[in-house]
Amino acid sequence: MTARVGIVVFPGSNCELDAKKAFESAGAEALMVWHRDETLPEVDLVVLPGGFAHGDYLRTGALARFSPIMEAVRAHADQGGLVLGICNGFQILCEAGMLPGALRKNSGLKFLCKWVTLRVEDANTPFTSRAHAGQLLRIPINHFEGNWFAEQAELQRLQANGQIVLRYEDNPNGSLGDVAGICNETKNVFGLMPHPERACEALLGSADGIVLLGSLLDHIGHRAKAPV
């Protein structure tokens, strides 16, 4: 069974082809979905890629949450479908209320484009099942608003529920609790600031991104085989 991945393209997205290439290399079928569409094709996973949707006007992700496709993305998630938001996609998911917290400007007020080391906090998610807790992943970041914030009570709730999926080893942007990636309570919606799709070939500096993307494809494969 080939996993089907729908990659949403907003005006201003710029990592959709990287995501397509990465998922296809990992064995999935990748379909592009225009943000003005009101329905999703039959897909197992929806990806909101990186970029600057709607020019980041007002706040990152603030306008994209109103794109027509977002109602279908929310319905897909509500039915247990997998959603992955990378960088700008993570910002959109937070603005849409599909993930908790918000992404503020980096604490140093500088755009950051560099390799970082991430620590897998929770391997018991569809996004990290190929990893083990504590595993280090080398994956690049490329953002100005990656400084994740939530109220302390919210952070504690996420920690208690195992929703903190990835943390920075050396926090580059001021993110609360060194958070690099979180998931929702039901663990089918995941957002992260780093770009795993840019770390899928050793020739490009790291293939650690395959751990995350491959975990998703494993999960889809196992679910397809599970008895109904």
Binding site: L58, R59, A62, L63, F66, C94, E95, G101, A102, R104, F149, A150, E151
Partner: protein
Amino acid sequence: VDADEARLRVEEMCEKLLANPVIESYQVSIA
């Protein structure tokens, strides 16, 4: 639109788009 209705509408705009209440606060004045 009376003042109460105007306030409700503007507050809804703030909550949904104009502000992100996780990180921003807002104040509505009806003149």
